[in-house]
């Protein structure tokens, strides 16, 4: 097995603050059951390291949890929330399941595709800002059509709301970047 030091050489480690958060998550579980922290640590890692889980990131998480890298790969590939390839800055995940379909999610998906100038779900807009994905039922059935972006739900979508949302995220991106 590769040592943690070797992995860290390839992959920037968590900040001290994030590392402390991870240690806190591990402590929620009994001694020797630190593997239970994996899903939460993967969510944190994805957020910290560019919105996706590279093999290096997964190896780093394996080191943190003192488990084999394969144990991380098999989990990361099973759960649909984890991105295993790079995405746009923002990922729109539109719910496509029955109750949302009944209230027009198909039209919203088509509209977003047109708006972003992409030909199919899974693609990223040419400027690298938005990736469109579909998701199965996100538990917002009474408030559809809806999409999730990061930790935020956007509900009761209309074409006008989608336009506003895209503007909002663009503005958010340029303001964070000008600050840096």
């Amino acid at each position: 097995m590769i040592s943690t030091q070797e992995i860290q050489a390839k992959r920037p480690p968590f900040s001290a603050e994030k590392l402390e958060e991870v240690q806190g998550v591990i402590k929620q579980f009994p001694e020797g059951r630190q593997k239970s922290a994996i899903l939460r640590v993967l969510h944190i890692a994805e957020e910290e390291f560019g919105g996706w889980l590279s093999p290096e990131t997964m190896d780093y998480v394996a080191g943190l949890l003192d488990i084999q890298p394969i144990e991380v790969y098999e989990v990361a590939t099973f759960y649909t929330m984890f991105n295993l390839e790079p995405t746009g800055k923002f990922v729109f995940e539109v719910c496509r399941t029955g109750p949302c379909m009944l209230v027009g999610s198909d039209n919203i998906i088509e509209y977003i595709k047109k708006k972003l100038g992409i030909s199919k779900v899974g693609e990223t807009s040419a400027d690298g800002m938005f990736t469109l994905k579909t998701a199965e039922c996100l538990g917002a059935c009474g408030y559809g059509p809806m999409l999730q972006c990061g930790k935020t739900y956007h509900e009761h979508l209309t074409p006008e709301k989608v336009d506003a949302l895209i503007e909002e995220y663009r503005a958010k991106y340029s303001s964070t970047n000008s600050q840096n």
């Binding site: 899903l39 929330m81 984890f82 399941t97 199965e136 996100l138 930790k151």
Partner: protein, 447 residues
């Protein structure tokens, strides 16, 4: 107006904070349990209330608790199933988001009853924003002495944590949930042993739905005798219903079990009828896994009796002419909707969410999805309809967990009640491609 036990204070400003919640009678059930009741008495009270599990299966909560093994020196766990993923269901999210302390209070009372000193709320990863709300409320509960060591001087200790999933419907199945909580893929376990004997980390474990655990609070507050007076003889209490689809006023409602389906759909206090003045075509009353009901079986049973929102009335007629209360995911279809398209949509869902462990489910769900997509796109033939029924039979009952059944039943019900619609797609391939069956044929029955 119907009695509210869970959502009574839902519109009080600030009810998500500890102080406001406490001022509205919060944490009284824990006080009562810790000060005046033994753990066994709490279990007996919940048994007596006849509370049925609110996650979908409807198994009596108190009975589930009574099965918990109690070997010496082995920890026991209570795990709350907040993996709410059944299409059409969003009630647990509403409860946790709006009134998080109610679930925490229920977790403390229930953990005390079961003798658990560490409990977990496993929440679907997409609800990460709800996880943050819960953790904030948990921190307040610790600060005020309702969690941690020696709770309110009772000598009882409890730690409560929230753990996120990663996007997998299957983790709502309790043994898959436990696998996931142990940091593994969500593959359901063979049963027996049941979690009550060997659950989390091989220790005795109870897994209960969010709403079931929250309902322990009013049961302890008003007492099982009073609770039994609410609802019907076979369906005690209240139930959260997630109303969605083509309704004028969709949302989460707390109903007294036994309310008529007609009143719930059309009543001013409830959903206020079908959106845009349209007619109803079909209803799935308990989440995507339960059989669909055609218009003539929604407000009346096949025997012509009034249909009520209760476990017994919604299942009246069995699968032939009835359905199930399930999770309370109440999905309404207006006259413009296409049943074939919807059946295909749900088949795609199950095929996407099958964990892949059992061949009948892994292969069967994707096969059904392909056949249904073919029919929906005007490329099917008559044999395909019977083929679906045949695949169904080969999945049903042949898998480790009920996901296979959940995938098979809705397809069987859709064909049973809307066969002519499937046949129309085969005989009118050009029209099937053009648009929705509902829009082209308008076959809805006037109520």
């Amino acid at each position: 107006m119907s009695r509210k036990l869970l959502l009574e204070h839902i519109n009080v400003p600030g009810i998500e904070t500890y102080d406001v919640y406490r001022n509205h009678g919060g944490y009284k059930s824990v006080e009562k349990a810790l000060k005046t009741m033994s753990p066994q008495e709490v279990v007996e009270e919940v048994q007596k209330s006849a509370l049925k599990g609110r996650g979908g299966a409807g198994f009596p909560t108190g009975m589930k608790w009574s099965f918990l093994a109690k070997p010496e020196g082995v920890p026991r766990y209570l795990v709350c199933n907040a993996d709410e993923s059944e299409p059409g269901t969003f009630k647990d999210r509403y409860l946790m988001e709006k009134i998080p302390h109610l679930l925490i209070e229920g977790m403390i009372a229930s953990s005390y009853a079961l003798g658990a000193n560490t409990s977990y709320i496993y929440i679907r990863g997409e609800y990460y924003f709800v996880l943050e709300i819960l953790e904030k409320a948990i921190a307040e509960a610790y600060k005020n002495g309702w969690l941690g060591k020696n709770i309110q001087g009772s000598g009882y200790d409890l730690d409560l944590y929230v753990a996120p999933g990663g996007g997998a419907y299957i983790c709502g199945e309790e043994t898959a949930l436990l696998e996931s909580l142990e940091g593994k893929r969500g593959n359901p376990r063979m049963k027996p042993p049941f979690p009550a004997i060997k659950g989390l980390y091989g220790c005795p474990t109870v897994v209960n739905n969010v709403e079931s655990i929250a309902t322990v609070v009013p049961i302890l507050n008003i007492g099982a005798d009073e609770y039994l007076k609410i609802g019907t003889e076979k369906s005690s209490g209240t139930k959260l219903i997630s109303a969605c689809g083509n309704l004028a006023r969709p949302g989460v409602y707390e109903i007294e079990l036994g309310l008529s389906v007609e009143e719930f759909i059309y009543g001013d206090d409830w959903c206020r009828g079908i959106a845009n003045g349209k007619k109803i075509k079909a209803l799935i009353p308990g989440g995507s896994s339960v059989p669909i009901l055609p218009a003539h079986l929604i407000t009346k049973t096949a025997a012509g009796e009034t249909r009520y929102m209760s476990y017994e009335s919604l299942s009246d007629g069995g699968f032939a002419t009835g359905s199930m209360l399930g999770s309370g995911g109440f999905i309404v279809f207006d006259e413009d909707q296409c049943i074939v398209r919807n059946t295909w949509n749900f088949a795609r869902f199950y095929s996407h969410e099958s964990c892949g462990q059992c061949s009948p489910c892994r292969e069967g769900t994707s096969w059904m999805e392909k056949v249904l997509r073919r029919i929906e796109n005007g490329e099917g033939n008559m044999r395909d309809i019977d083929l679906l029924a045949d695949i169904n039979k080969k999945i049903e009952g042949n898998t480790i967990c009920p996901l296979g059944d959940a995938a098979a039943w809705p397809v069987a019900a859709a064909i049973r009640h809307f066969r002519e619609e499937f046949e129309w797609h085969v005989t009118n391939p050009q029209d099937a491609l053009k648009g929705n069956y509902g829009l082209l044929k308008t076959p809805a029955i006037t109520l």
